[in-house]
């Protein structure tokens, strides 16, 4: 044996207990702080809109001013002649025959050709030496539109003789939909809902309307494209999935994927709104045409047109129950408006249908969900992805049933709550803990926030602190006409991509000695969009490799795909890939150790050796060697793909199939105060309980739950993109008119976290990000109904709905 361990205090062959304090800190389960935190609080973190390049130009998009029209002509003459302008591009300048892109169906034009199908569709591109020059030049482009009638809802989409939004469809859904203006339709039939209805003592029906929500991430769509010497392009961009972007960009540019080098730049939130392309291809086209780096940054107005929104929906539900409170059956029909292009609509339909029952055991169901093509703004992925709309409706139904049976709404839900083993409407058994009744118990058991806090806050028991009242500093009430209400809701969300999608991720892990210390480097293409994946990856590497120093490489396309940062899947799937790669690195390192030092101690031959505190230790805690001595000058560098267990497609006719990977559950209790005179709502508290399987980083988990809860609050009382039903034009594309909750609108959000391990997932974890967005909306609605006695079948609730004006 040539090598001799250099561990002076731990001579080879002398087992020593690993000392207290040398355990690796910052591992899985700890509230480790973000590695990018310091950069973000000092302003040094480089977001995609902060990119800068010498000699850089600014790109701008000209967008359609009408929703549905034929384009007769586009005159770019004046724009081209504007001083400072370097390029003006229209459909005719696209370099290849591939002129569309799309996540699943390539139906979205890079630039409008022949026709525009929604308000704000990209028509032409300009780049210039100053952003204002680009904007002004774009305004000089003359587009001659011949307007067409607009399709805005199911009736206009399927009316006899309706104009087809896509006149020649050839996607794989067309053979299975009843009308070409329907993107996708998924029925689910299980048992016999008609027969089961005969057993019901009470039946409730409801028609619900869900408004169009926007992700409203704060960092606008932006990025920098730099032409490279080999004829390719480098793109620095904020996205949710680099490799998905690359697959869509390459054929349009006519470049092999290797010539498009994509690097994730800082992402200012995503929530589903960055799953589709926005400025990616546009910036590359302008850079390749002008031969110069081109930066594009949407302003907030353009951002509302630059990404897809949450599907607005019409939902019709019927539920029955026996007089002792057992659900008999459910029938529902969910109509989602997908807007002008497909985006993620087919998958949203799959989720809306398969999760339409919610976390309840009902054997007999008759379900139909579909998404329309229309001339409304395109809709696609947003946090909760089809499950949000359904949850709003089925939870309203639960309250209606409980009221009709004169039962407590929580007790009624608990009586029907699904458990481990319950079959979903798709016939898939839930094979992990499903603590639905327990989550409801937890939120209900919380002490109630004190009554009339506005009086207490005034100090003397008489004067009120108007800041704590509905209307706040607007001083609209001093408490007269203010009533309190309490509401509950619970929801069911799937984790990961479903219906047979090959939902894998890739991680590259390197282990080497730097300055005498073992250091791990983790390289994935995962988009860090703010959720904290980078924190968790470092924690996983510390846990698996026993090192304290972990470097996270920037995400780019030099490593294999990590899949999308969406569907609550990244900690599960890319976290799983990091774990898997670390395990492979560990095995190789132990093998190296056996070769070098195996003869010094018999424990080297045993299984179950661990890496801990920079040392190789037995499972009994005996130190065998320093990792630095095992590695010396060598580096172990391994890239591995990792997959969770496979899923399968839902049957086209019956909806049966094991389509989902994992489920997550959250419950909310909302306490609201409503000024019944002016219809103003103040949410006092929005308590949440969620099962996260295993909290890899408890601090980040709380941040996700509270953030998701607040987005649900937003859709309940204020958030809606308003589309004119006559013209299909967007009426409120600004933060002045599209309201998201401020810190004054957001109440205290106390959280109970359960950790019931899912045996199938890494560390037993359960995706966290989306579930809290489901139940917070119906909980707030239930509380407002409880306060006012009104039915309230639409979201968001506006003052006029509360005052009848």
């Amino acid at each position: 044996m040539a090598h001799t361990p250099r561990v002076s205090s731990v001579p080879a062959g002398t087992p020593t207990d690993i000392s207290q304090g040398s355990r690796t800190r910052g591992g899985v389960g700890e509230s480790t702080l973000r590695p990018d935190g310091t950069l973000k609080v000092t302003g040094a973190f480089a977001y995609s809109s902060d990119m800068w390049h010498e000699d850089m130009l600014w790109g701008h998009t000209l967008r359609s001013t009408v929703a549905h029209a034929e384009i007769r002509s586009i005159d770019i003459g004046e724009a081209v002649a504007t001083p400072g302008v370097h390029a003006v591009l229209t459909y005719d300048d696209l370099p290849t025959a591939c002129k569309n892109y799309g996540l699943e169906i390539r139906d979205t034009p890079v630039l409008a050709h022949g026709k525009v199908r929604h308000h704000g569709e990209p028509v032409a591109l300009v780049c210039a030496d100053h952003p204002e020059t680009a904007r002004r030049a774009a305004a000089k482009i003359k587009v001659d539109y011949a307007e067409l009638p607009v399709i805005t809802d199911e009736a206009s989409a399927t009316a006899p003789g309706a104009v087809l939004v896509h006149e020649s469809r050839d996607d794989h859904h067309i053979a299975h939909v009843p009308h070409p203006n329907i993107v996708h339709r998924q029925p689910i039939v299980r048992g016999d809902a008609e027969a089961a209805a005969q057993r019901a003592d009470v039946i409730v029906r409801g028609e619900y309307t869900f408004g169009m929500q926007d992700q409203a991430f704060l960092g606008p769509e932006s990025g920098l494209a730099v032409p490279s010497e080999d004829g390719g392009v480098e793109l620095y961009v904020a996205t949710q999935w680099l490799h998905s972007d690359l697959r869509q960009i390459a054929p349009v540019l006519g470049l092999p994927e290797e010539k498009i080098r994509m690097t994730l730049s800082g992402v200012g939130g995503a929530f589903g709104g960055r799953e589709d392309l926005s400025m990616q291809i546009h910036a590359c086209l302008l850079a390749l045409r002008s031969g110069k780096p081109v930066k594009m940054v949407y302003n907030r107005f353009e951002s509302f047109f630059g990404h897809v929104h949450r599907h607005p929906a019409k939902l019709s539900y019927e539920h029955g129950a026996t007089k002792d409170g057992k659900l008999t059956h459910m029938k529902c029909r969910i109509v989602l408006d997908g807007g002008a292009y497909a985006s993620a609509s087919p998958a949203v339909v799959g989720n809306a249908s398969s999760l339409s029952v919610g976390p309840y055991a009902i054997e007999d169901v008759d379900i139909e969900a579909l998404a329309l093509y229309s001339n409304n703004p395109p809709c696609g992925a947003m946090r909760g992805f089809g499950a949000v709309q359904a949850c709003f409706a089925y939870e309203a139904q639960m309250d209606k049933l409980a009221a009709k049976l004169d039962m407590d709404p929580v007790t009624f839900r608990q009586l029907n709550a699904m458990k481990r083993g319950t079959l979903l409407p798709t016939g898939q058994p839930c094979d992990s803990p499903a603590p639905v009744a327990e989550l409801l118990r937890l939120v209900k058991a919380r002490p109630m926030p004190p009554e009339r806090q506005w009086l207490a806050a005034g100090g003397d028991g008489r004067t009120v602190d108007v800041r704590a009242l509905p209307g706040g500093l607007s001083n609209t009430t001093h408490g007269e006409g203010v009533v309190r209400g309490v509401g509950y809701a619970v929801g069911l969300k799937n984790v990961g991509f479903s219906e047979g999608f090959d939902d894998y991720s890739t991680a590259r892990v390197r282990m080497e000695v730097i300055n005498g210390e073992p250091v791990a480097t983790v390289h994935t293409a995962m988009a860090e969009v703010g959720q904290g994946g980078v924190t968790v990856h470092a924690q996983i590497a510390r846990t698996e490799l026993g090192v304290s120093q972990v470097t996270i490489q920037p995400a780019d396309t030099r490593v294999g795909s990590a899949g999308s940062t969406s569907a609550s899947r990244q900690t599960y799937v890319t976290g799983g890939a990091v774990k898997h790669s670390c395990e492979a690195v560990r095995e190789e390192l132990l093998e190296l150790g056996r070769r070098k030092f195996g003869s010094y101690h018999p424990a080297w031959a045993t299984a179950g050796l661990l890496l801990e505190g920079g040392k190789v230790v037995t499972d009994g805690g005996e130190v065998l060697a320093e990792v630095a001595d095992v590695l010396e000058e060598e580096a172990i560098d391994i890239e591995r793909e990792w997959r969770h267990r496979p899923t399968e497609a839902f049957d086209r006719r019956t909806g049966q199939g094991n389509g989902h990977v994992q489920y997550s559950f959250a419950a909310h209790r909302a306490v609201v105060e409503v000024d019944t005179e002016l219809g103003l709502v103040k949410v006092i508290e929005l308590a949440c309980a969620q099962d996260v399987g295993k909290a890899l980083n408890p601090l980040s988990v709380l941040g996700q739950i509270q953030g998701g809860t607040t987005q649900g609050l937003g859709i309940a009382v204020m958030e809606e993109i308003i589309v004119d039903p006559k013209t299909a034009k967007v009426r409120n594309p600004s933060f002045t008119d599209y309201l998201i909750p401020t810190i004054l609108d957001t109440p205290a959000i106390p959280v109970d976290v359960l950790e019931l391990a899912d045996d199938h997932a890494p560390y037993g974890l359960r995706g966290v990000g989306e579930a809290p967005t489901l139940s917070s909306t119906p909980a707030v609605l239930a509380a407002i109904r409880n306060a006012t006695g009104l039915e309230l079948d639409r979201t968001p609730v506006r003052p006029e709905h509360l005052t009848g004006t």
């Binding site: 702080l33 973000r34 990018d36 935190g37 310091t38 973000k40 609080v41 000092t42 302003g43 040094a44 973190f45 480089a46 977001y47 809109s49 800068w52 100053h130 204002e132 992700q215 409203a216 991430f217 704060l218 960092g219 606008p220 800082g266 992402v267 200012g268 939130g269 995503a270 929530f271 940054v297 302003n299 907030r300 806050a457 800041r467 704590a468 500093l473 969009v529 703010g530 904290g532 601090l699 980040s700 709380l702 941040g703 739950i705 509270q706 953030g707 998701g708 809860t709 607040t710 987005q711 600004s734 933060f735 002045t736 998201i740 401020t742 810190i743 004054l744 957001t746 205290a748 959000i749």
Partner: protein
């Protein structure tokens, strides 16, 4: 036009400024200080908040020319500014009538030689550290504006109630956190500030 101003305690000038350019654009694209963020450019989200002669403003709504001759503090200069305040008001304590930074003091402030224009200052302002420790940073796009606004709040109200914090930060939108951790961070910074005074 040419604009002269003091940014994070250092005299600066910007040439060829187009008359419609905002202070935000000049800071981000001409001064190389991208810390102030461009989330809405409509004065609605607060992510571009800077201090103009000590007063928090949305820099997207300030025409660059309006900044002529004035002093600006951005998130990049926040740590040095907090240290400077510590020098004139040790512990940040607010005895009646002398809380906050006077206009005059705000104008007179000069950066220390070690002050990082790029945010590489060695030490963080207490509010910056508290945001990290409390988990108040997620995507972080709202963070610079919130930090500038929260720092100003703690300067003038060292022991704010929750209602005070909510009111002071109501012009800063955050889409990720649900604000709970931001409240925690401001409470934490206030508590540490009080601790330091004792």
């Amino acid at each position: 036009m040419r604009v002269h101003f003091t940014v994070n305690g250092r005299p600066q000038e910007a040439d060829d400024v187009w008359e419609g350019e905002s202070l935000l654009y000049v800071l981000r694209e001409r001064m190389g200080l991208p810390g102030s963020k461009n989330a809405c450019e409509q004065g609605e989200c607060g992510s571009c908040t800077v201090r103009l002669d000590g007063v928090p403003v949305c820099s997207c709504l300030v025409a660059a020319g309006q900044a002529e001759g004035r002093g600006i503090v951005t998130v990049e200069g926040l740590a040095a500014y907090a240290r400077h305040r510590e020098d004139i008001h040790p512990g940040g304590g607010c005895t009646s009538g002398s809380c906050g930074t006077s206009l005059d003091a705000a104008r007179r402030w000069q950066a220390e030689p070690t002050d990082g224009q790029s945010g590489e200052a060695g030490e963080l302002a207490p509010i910056q550290q508290a945001f990290i420790d409390a988990g108040a940073v997620q995507c972080g796009f709202c963070t610079p504006g919130l930090l500038v606004a929260a720092d100003e709040l703690l300067e003038s109200h060292p022991s704010p109630t929750d209602q005070d914090i909510r009111e002071a930060l109501s012009g800063n939108l955050c889409r990720c956190t649900g604000y709970e951790k931001i409240l925690d961070a401001v409470r934490l910074a206030a508590a540490r500030q009080e601790e330091a005074v004792r």
